[in-house]
């Protein structure tokens, strides 16, 4: 396969490059002609939105890093300087701060989309696993980013979360000292968190690239959860889905801008505008909202190691989900029994989030325990069993069939070609 690429590009300059480095051809193939199921709903916007959000976070982050000082004596003040003195510093920081929340909103919807429509099932297991890796990296990045302003919540959040590792027998304490680079969360900790907070987003970019490559091998899932049977079931990505994604992007940006300009601190905690004090713990430590369900799982059991294992387990169980769900039917649309369990699961996740924000006492401990039990039951018992006993509704013959009367396989011949050109 040595020799110039046979380019179809019209522009001579683009053609000259394309023959030597066929990136224009690749983009044309994967983002313009790319055959995509024609029945996407708006839930299929969220992958593209997540990608845009990642770029926003990296760009604002790079500019914030130009003004931030990762030292315990200066970090808090440098963030205040960004807010008050740096030109448009307030805007860049508020975009970055709320961008983290928007990123998790988008990604959580993206994940629940996958759960509802069975996007994790064969042949997309690896695509799903790469997504879970991205989620883990995002969580680590968000956690370390929250430490950087060196407010009270930064400091005590870092203390509580790094102390999770002390739950492991024998090596736990050494791991924590190693993570800290000292005997408490201090300057060495802040320094390394800044370094890693800058590094991890680029690792995310790398894994996102693999995620997209894997997606372009298997093709997208769709709301019916059946594979396209031919060109009559697909449309080219451009202009159909580029425009649909653009519309979704506008809505997303309106919500984002509303948060940034009208309620920039709504999702944060006032305590983080108090400089870190290693001698005083705030009365009520809570993580950022996107960690609350996991925090509730952590606190659900009175045993320290048990809580830590359950919390890590709640993410790790997602890795094996493709093999836990035994049903061959992807979309919940055709799974009358699984659907209510799914919605129950979604509600439970929200309830866990609420319980995570409440003090760990009284009724909230019970709520967290019931929620945690259901969370794991859903993956480890309900989905494996339902696949065996459920009688799914009949699947449509093809993506076109339910839309076009008398469509389906019969159309595959003559009608297919004009459809593709359209």
């Amino acid at each position: 396969m040595v020799g110039l690429h046979k380019s179809e590009m019209k522009n001579p300059v683009v053609r000259w490059i394309d023959e030597r480095l066929p990136i224009p051809s690749m983009l044309n193939q994967e983002y313009a002609k790319f055959p995509t199921p024609k029945n996407f709903n708006y839930f299929w916007n969220f992958g593209a939105l997540a990608m845009v959000n990642l770029v926003i976070m990296i760009v604002t982050g790079i500019f914030l890093a130009m003004h931030y000082t990762p030292h315990t004596s200066y970090a808090f003040d440098s963030v205040e300087r960004i807010m008050r003195d740096v030109n448009f510093g307030w805007l860049i920081r508020y975009i970055h701060m709320n961008g983290a929340s928007m990123f998790f909103i988008v990604v959580f919807i993206h994940i629940f989309r996958g759960l509802y429509y069975g996007s994790y099932k064969a042949p997309r297991e690896l695509l799903w696993i790469l997504g879970v890796v991205i989620l883990l990296l995002m969580m680590a990045t968000a956690f370390m980013g929250y430490v950087l302003p060196w407010g009270q919540m930064s400091f005590w959040g870092a203390t509580v979360i790094t102390n999770l590792f002390s739950a492991f027998p024998i090596v736990g304490e050494s791991i924590v000292v190693w993570l800290w680079g000292g005997f408490s969360v201090d300057n060495p900790t802040l320094n390394r968190f800044f370094s890693l907070h800058y590094l991890l987003p680029f690792l995310i970019v790398g894994v996102v690239f693999l995620h997209v490559v894997a997606l372009h091998i298997t093709g997208s899932n769709n709301p019916l959860g059946i594979e396209p049977k031919g060109p009559q079931d697909t449309i080219p990505f451009h202009p159909y889905y580029t425009i649909k994604d653009t519309f979704g992007l506008c809505i997303y940006l309106i919500v984002f801008a509303f948060l940034v300009f009208f309620m920039p601190n709504y999702l944060g905690h006032a305590d983080n505008y108090i400089p870190a004090n290693p001698l005083v713990t705030p009365a009520h430590i809570v993580p950022e909202w996107y960690f609350l369900p996991f925090y509730a799982i952590l606190r659900a059991v009175p045993d320290k190691l048990g809580g830590v294992l359950l919390m890590f387990g709640s993410i790790l169980v997602l890795f094996v989900l493709p093999w836990l769900d035994t049903s061959p039917v992807r979309s919940m649309k055709f799974r009358p029994l699984a659907r209510p369990f799914f919605w129950m699961f979604a509600i439970i996740c929200v309830v866990l989030g609420y319980a995570g924000a409440m003090p760990a006492e009284g009724i909230w401990v019970t709520v967290s325990q019931v929620g945690t039990a259901y969370y794991f039951m859903y993956f480890l018992v309900i989905l494996p069993v339902l696949g065996k006993i459920e009688k799914p509704r009949p699947l449509p013959e093809s993506i076109s069939a339910p839309v076009l009367r008398g469509g389906g396989p019969i159309m595959a011949g003559a009608a297919a070609k004009p459809m593709e050109k359209a």
């Binding site: 509580v160 999770l164 190693w178 000292g182 290693p278 001698l279 320290k304 760990a360």
Partner: protein
Amino acid sequence: MADAATAPSTGTAPHGSTGPAETRRDFLKLTTAAMAAVGVGAVVWPFIQSMNPSASVLALASTEVDLAPITEGQSITVMWRGKPVFVRHRTADDIKAANDVALNTLPDPQADGARVQKAEWLVMIGVCTHLGCVPLGQRPTDAKGDFGGWFCPCHGSHYDTSGRIRRGPAPRNLDVPEYTFVNDTNIRIG
């Protein structure tokens, strides 16, 4: 692929192994891989170790406290290794309460005598053994929990007048640091 090609020839060679399963090439591959693993480990180790506490952090590892100004019933907090250390001048009631507990009722059984060098001076690291918050109870106005000692507001651990865990998620008693009485009214922690 290479093994398959070489296996028959070494099998017939005078110094070769007997079966096609083990060849000198396998041995070379294994030793090369083992050396590579050792090499990678040797290169990674300095980087891992660089994240452990540095010499300057370790140099700050001891601190002296003057006990003379602390009146009976009073507590002070000093910083040691970036952590708060609680020093309480215990009253006779505190000591009695700490000694009156049956050890087998404690989650982490430890006699009060094993936690102090002089009964009136309780010195311990003021970090909850659950997830590292600073328990309340140092100031007279603080909540002291149900056992008259300390109370961690984060996840509700109650400590008694000897700093032992009595109720809540914390797995261990508050840690006692290494310290020595330099003289009657001075201690060195660390």
